[in-house]
């Protein structure tokens, strides 16, 4: 059992890392030929770092847009963030001190995720505009994440997994040793769902996570008059069309 799960996790993690990096490389290598920050925009690099920081931590734009979506979206993401940190207790030995402090609270974070996801799902069904734009995958994604959070919580409160064994398994993964894992259907489900999530990440809208950092409307500095901004393909236009444009000129 443990071996199969290990192999699945390695493979899907590989797809996640390689796929997402390739996507990010494509974003990075695609030129942004024009200055298009949504203004008012920061006039310095530092300002841009703060703008992106506020988007990542507080979901600033979403807050301006819709308080309910913001509330549910933020609850989910913040919950997920802390749950992930709390999971480090399976991967560190001895457990890092701040992880040890966080760990007991992880059920609360799990519930934050669930409440957030449920709210987002309800919006998808109830608000006619959001229903109109939702594809099956948009509902599925939420259900999927709820299943991950739900199975995690279930093990916490009901069908307890063997924590000591899980930890050995997790440390085994890090050391490339295949540790055994006794059959606990909820745990297996939890791990497999995570594997699927990692697998679809680079091919789905989950790309919004790296996408934000490459979004020209958010990451560009507002300084077009001070500094000439020009993409390589646009530059090449200048050299070979200079004959053409001087033909236009009446000087």
């Amino acid at each position: 059992m443990g071996t199969v799960i290990s192999v699945v996790l390695y493979l899907t993690l590989g797809v996640f890392v390689v796929g997402t990096l390739r996507r990010m490389m494509r974003y990075a290598s695609t030129p942004a030929p024009l200055k298009i920050p949504t203004t008012p925009a920061p006039t310095t690099r530092t300002g841009v770092v703060f703008r992106l920081g506020r988007e990542v931590v507080f979901f600033e734009s979403l807050f301006k847009a819709s308080k309910w979506t913001w509330l549910f979206g933020w609850l989910f993401h913040a919950g997920l963030f802390f749950v992930l940190l709390a999971h480090l207790r399976y991967f560190t030995e001895p457990v890092w001190w701040w992880v040890a402090i966080l760990a007991p609270f992880s059920p609360y974070f799990g519930f934050m995720m669930l409440i957030g996801l449920a709210g987002l799902l309800a919006r998808r069904f109830l608000v006619d505009r959001v229903r109109y734009i939702s594809a099956p995958s948009d509902y599925l994604m939420l259900v999927f994440l709820m299943a991950i959070a739900g199975s995690g919580l279930l093990m916490r409160f009901e069908l307890h997994a063997d924590i000591v064994q899980v930890k050995q398994f997790a440390l085994g993964l890090l050391a490339f040793e295949f540790a055994g894992l006794s059959f606990n259907p909820v745990l297996i489900l939890h791990l497999l769902l995570v594997a699927v999530l990692m697998f679809i990440f680079p091919f789905s809208k989950l790309l919004h996570a790296p996408g934000l950092f490459f979004s020209p409307s958010r990451n560009q500095v507002d300084n077009p008059r001070e500094r000439r901004h020009i993409a390589r393909w646009a530059k090449s236009l200048e050299s070979h069309s200079s004959g053409k444009s001087s033909g236009n000129s009446r000087g």
Binding site: P31, L34, I36, L62, D128, R228
Partner: protein, 499 residues
């Protein structure tokens, strides 16, 4: 006043209500298709080519490789719905395809189908679709119901800018021979004659001379309107509507008076007698660049030291954000001034330095509000600080008149609503869309009007001014309630007669 409409004009209530989704409410709306001559004049096939589908798909791939924004936007939308109630065209029509995300999806579903693994193998699951004639028709309709105002991009958690998607879609349609008449005909005129109206040099000279006579008669001051004057300090690039249309002309008179009173030597160029750059609207870099290069050529030819833009929203976007990119570097101009400058920046500086004086009482008959034009608000800046585009025009207005009132906070500054006629939609074949799309702005105007008895709305964009002149009567206002900011300035400016 208004001619009888063939459609229902939205009713204004106490505040803006988000309408329920009404599928296909605007599926009958589409602009006239460009003729072969318009298309070919700006480098596109004359009519829909036989293998349009193949070429369109290929073009889409080319554009995602050329524009990072487009690539990231097509990938990143999570369908959160935050943008769905932010578009004035959705608010005014209820057509769900006018929700920004749904508008993007018209292109995104094709992108997914042909360029993503998920869309290739599980099209139904992720909402991917083949590019069919129906899809192309939807593109033509709904990408011409977007004024590229960027309001949606303010609210999207990833800054997804539907304007960029619309521009890309229009570029794809142009490249397969399906262009929009209004934009493409105009771009052809700019290339050929130098301005959107096709106003030749002689007519322009006449008009400017006429203005000199008018101002002399009205104010007794010999204010000049110079054309093609070599060695002038300032090249004024302004929308051609300023030369002949009301209320724009009064704005031009305002600029001229400011230059005159400050003792600045300036000129208009017949070669670049147009600030507008519709190349932006069709998302075509080459055309946009070619139109922008006229300004560089004119500046070189006339040997000016500064370039100043008149009141025009999208022109200021191209001027402020792109001119340096498209037609720079401008190292041959006076480096003490940003290139280009907005007339509002120039006037503001002159007021600050005490080089011009205003008598606000001259406008005591007016109670004024200010409409932030979308391209100025969300795609450019004025002055040295972020947000200066909101501060500077307001300070000028307040210096020019004593009664200034703001419209509701969620309709001004970065949240401003488009006039409804931007982005290449200012054409009579789209009147219904324009009237309905103006609803949120009209609603805000009504609110401030009910409270403060507003007589005039000032704007700094030629498209806004033309659009409002047209749609105000549909909502029970008068067409001449829209005025130029520089009309207020011109009327309040204290002129020395001995100059």
């Amino acid at each position: 006043m208004a001619k009888p409409p063939k459609f229902d004009v939205p009713e204004l209530g106490d505040y803006t209500v988000t309408p329920p989704v009404m599928p296909d409410a605007m599926s009958h709306s589409q602009p006239f298709v460009a003729k072969a001559t318009h298309q070919e004049a700006i480098g596109f096939p004359g009519e829909l080519i036989d293998n349009w589908q193949e070429v369109a798909i290929e073009k889409l791939g080319e554009l995602t490789g050329k524009y990072r924004g487009l690539q990231v936007y097509l990938d990143s939308c999570v369908k959160c719905g935050a943008c769905t109630d932010k578009c004035h065209y959705f608010l005014g029509t209820g057509d769900p395809k006018n929700m920004p995300v749904a508008r993007q999806d018209l292109l995104r579903k094709v992108y997914r189908r042909y360029y993503t693994v998920a869309g290739k193998y599980f099209p139904k699951l992720v909402g991917a679709e083949d590019l069919t004639k129906d899809v192309l028709d939807d593109w033509y309709k709904y990408y011409h119901q977007c004024s590229q105002c960027r309001r949606c991009s303010v609210y999207c958690p990833y800054g997804i800018d539907t304007a960029e998607v619309s521009m890309a879609a229009r570029e794809i349609m142009d490249s397969v021979g399906l262009g929009q008449k209004y934009c493409n005909e105009i771009i052809g005129k700019v290339h050929k004659i130098g301005n959107n109206l096709g106003l030749p040099e002689a007519a322009l000279a006449d008009t400017l001379e006429g203005l000199e006579e008018d101002v002399l008669e009205d104010d007794g001051v010999p204010v000049k309107f110079p054309l093609d004057v070599k060695g002038a300090d300032v090249l004024l690039v302004t929308p051609s509507a300023d030369f002949f249309a009301e209320p724009h002309i009064d704005g031009l008179i305002g600029y001229a008076k400011v230059f005159h009173q400050a003792g600045l030597s300036w000129t208009v160029s017949s070669h670049a007698s147009e600030a507008a750059n519709f190349g932006l609207f069709i998302g075509n870099y080459d055309n946009m660049r070619k139109v922008a290069l006229r300004i560089r050529e004119a500046a070189l030819e006339l040997g000016v030291k500064r370039i100043v833009f008149g009141e025009c929203g999208h022109a200021w976007r191209v001027g402020y954000s792109f001119l340096n990119t498209l037609a720079g570097p401008f190292d041959f101009l006076d480096s003490n001034y940003p290139v280009p400058q907005h007339i509002v920046e120039v006037t503001h500086d002159l007021i600050q330095q005490g080089r011009i004086k205003l008598d606000a009482e001259a406008n005591d008959d007016k109670r004024v509000t200010f409409h932030d034009s979308c391209n100025v608000a969300r795609a450019s800046r004025m002055g040295s600080k972020a947000g200066g585009q909101f501060v500077l025009p307001r300070e000028i207005i307040k210096a020019s008149c004593n009664h200034f009132y703001e419209m509701p906070a969620n309709t001004v500054e970065e949240a401003t609503f488009c006039c409804g006629g931007g982005g290449g939609l200012l054409t009579d074949d789209l009147v219904e869309l324009r009237v309905k799309g103006a609803m949120p702005r009209m609603q805000a105007l009504k609110e401030v009007h009910d409270q403060h008895n507003i007589t005039h709305m000032a704007a700094i964009c030629a498209i806004c001014k033309s659009q409002f002149s047209k749609v105000l009567p549909y909502y029970g206002f008068e067409m001449d309630q829209i005025i130029s900011v520089h009309q207020l300035v011109g009327d309040a400016l204290i002129m020395d007669t001995e100059h």
